[in-house]
Amino acid sequence: MRTVTYGQAISEALREEMRRDPAVFVLGEDMGVMGSVFGLTKGFLAEFGASRVIDTPISEAGFTAMAVGAALRGLRPVVEIMYVDFTPVCFDPIANQAAKMRYMTGGQAAVPLVLRAPGGAGRRNAGQHSQSLEALFTHIPGLKVIAPSTPADIKGLLKTAIRDDDPVVCIEHKLLYAAKGQIPDGEHLIPLGRADVKRPGRDVTLVAWSRQVGFALEAAGILAGEGIDAEVVDLRSLVPLDWDTLAASVRKTHRAVIVQEAVRRGGYGAELAAQIGEELFDSLDAPVKRIAGLNVVSPFSPALEDLTYPNPGTIAAGVRETLGRQP
């Protein structure tokens, strides 16, 4: 095992897959000479050359659609959209082209494309650089969506996503890039659609993904001191969803608290709450609860941004409420 950052894990995944398969190439804004604004592709241009490490103009719709065209021809493009907030600029190639080609052509076409997009708040980046938009993508049949929370998970899942024959949206969190974690040596692959129980517990299931997994674990630590034993299920992959792991946890704890950074209304947490309510009603001892971002535009001022999103304290408070405990 080694200790690397989440950002280094992404670099390793990209580099290993580009070395393994000449069909893999990266494109996006500032990916080549600069090595990406987050430094994830530093050294790639020298190693792989300009035909596989492509600095695009600021034309998200155009180059994402070009990646779809290249994928139709059997290449495996990895597109970076600098901020997930920019994906609405290129929603047609993602939602109408990449996602639908296989079905609309009766199974003839494959679009083995990965779209990496950093999202998330906490950097005081305000309304157009702080969103969590995973629900836009989970809503579209034909897309797969991953949102890993640790270096080991992002490396293993990103490598699998690149080898997958369907378009995969990889939601990364900007504030995780510097987070460190243990990573296995050698080849490391994690199948899509397999959740990871990051902390076992008996009393309540905390369901989270991306940066909120760390907050859920911190909340579980706070709650442990109060005699509450929380289980933390890191979904890692939103589509496909590891329903079996999630359902087993809820059947055991009889309570589900879903944590998402995205705004509450219409989030992926609402989908999970609906599925748990429909299928596990008899197992529940309390209503399914969502801890989520406020239904607002991400504010700039730290004084306001910190009020907008979940944190370990608000997650712990939500769990107490679900359990009927006083703080």
């Binding site: 190439f25 035909s51 596989r52 695009t56 103009p57 034309s59 719709a61 155009g62 180059f63 659609a65 070009m66 990646a67 779809v68 065209g69 290249a70 994928a71 139709l72 021809r73 059997g74 290449l75 047609d92 190639p93 109408n96 082209q97 080609m101 296989r102 079905y103 609309m104 052509t105 009766g106 199974g107 003839q108 076409a109 494959a110 049949p141 034909g142 797969k144 997958d164 024959d165 369907d166 899509l192 659609g193 589509v239 496909p240 969803l241 329903w243 599925q275």
Partner: protein
């Protein structure tokens, strides 16, 4: 129309391919009006010289992206009339197994990367296919068919810019049929020629008579040569006209009757027929034979479509994903 570089067999082949499109779409329109097809269809009647002229100038390994008005592109690139008719009927034997319909015909084996229901969307997909050719080092080129309406979409400009900057082996072929549904191009565009936009991206822009198949063929051949030599893209604008409505059932009340009549005088099939007979007076029998053969092909296509089964109910959830389809569709 200068027939000199082409032999009689070439010209007859061109005519046959154009007639396949004409009769396919007239038959589809007739069946649609009878309520024997669902959804909606956009016919290519009047524009046949563009698709056939372009595809006759391409090599078999070359690729195309098509549009919502794509029946002609598919047939011109070698597509089957029966398989496409079956798709229009929503049958399991169709190009897309009944899942795509008129606007999503694709045959990847023939290099048809797909018609598209989103105006302009095929333009950057074609550029991406050309990028793949450049990365792979292949000699094949890609041609994007699109209309005048698509030339006002943002991705047209983005794709032209990137294809020009990276000298991609792609041809952008604008079929200017003068109308985006009901809106005439001169009401929403400040220049007479779409081809002028090429100047902004540092590539050749060429206007061609889109109802003259030989002119289209020559222009595409020149652009293809340029693309294959690594000299980059060309923007071609074929001036043409759709005889029928945007969709079947569109009464075209927005078009002046005199305009329609004037363009029908310039019908691309009539013009080619005159050219053939002028250069080869003894070709009348061959032309009649072609007409009979194509009529039989289209009639057989309709029978095939009608006799084919609808898709099995279980297929409604297949093909969303390659693997893990069941789980990813369920939740």
């Amino acid at each position: 129309m200068n027939a000199r570089p082409y032999g009689c067999e070439d010209l007859l082949r061109f005519y046959r391919e154009m007639l396949r499109i004409r009769l396919f779409d007239l038959k589809a329109a007739e069946l649609f009006a009878q309520g024997r097809m669902a959804g909606n269809i956009h016919t290519y009647v009047g524009q046949e010289a563009v698709a056939v002229g372009a595809c006759q100038a391409l090599e078999p390994g070359d690729l195309i992206t098509a549009t919502h008005r794509g029946h002609g592109h598919c047939l011109a690139k070698g597509g089957r009339a029966d398989t496409m008719m079956a798709e229009l009927f929503g049958k399991a034997t169709g190009y897309c197994r009944g899942k795509g319909g008129s606007m999503h015909i694709a045959d990847l084996g023939l290099g048809i990367l797909g018609a598209n229901g989103i105006v302009g969307a095929g333009i950057p997909i074609a550029a991406g296919s050309a990028l793949a050719s450049k990365i792979k080092g292949g000699r094949e080129i890609t041609l994007a068919f699109f209309g005048d309406g698509a030339a006002n979409e943002g991705v047209f400009h983005e794709a032209l810019n990137m294809a020009a900057a990276w000298r991609l082996p792609v041809i952008f072929l604008c079929e200017n049929n003068r109308y985006g549904v009901s809106v005439s191009i001169d009401r929403v565009t400040n220049t007479a020629d779409i081809a002028d936009r090429a100047k902004g991206y540092g590539i050749p822009g060429v206007v061609v008579d889109g109802n003259d198949i030989l002119a289209v063929c020559e222009a595409v051949a020149a652009a293809a040569g340029r693309a294959r030599r690594g000299e980059g893209p060309t923007l071609l604008e074929a001036k043409t006209y759709r005889h029928r409505g945007h969709y079947e059932g569109d009464p075209q009340s927005y078009k002046p009757a005199a305009e329609i009549a004037a363009w029908k005088e310039r019908d691309p099939l009539d013009r080619l027929k005159k050219t053939i007979l002028a250069a080869h007076p003894d070709a009348a029998a061959a032309l009649a034979g072609i007409a009979a053969a194509v009529e039989a092909e289209i009639a057989a296509a309709v029978r095939f479509a009608e006799d084919s089964p609808y898709p099995e109910p279980a297929t409604v959830t297949s093909d969303v994903y390659a693997a893990d389809n069941e789980r990813s569709v369920a939740r």
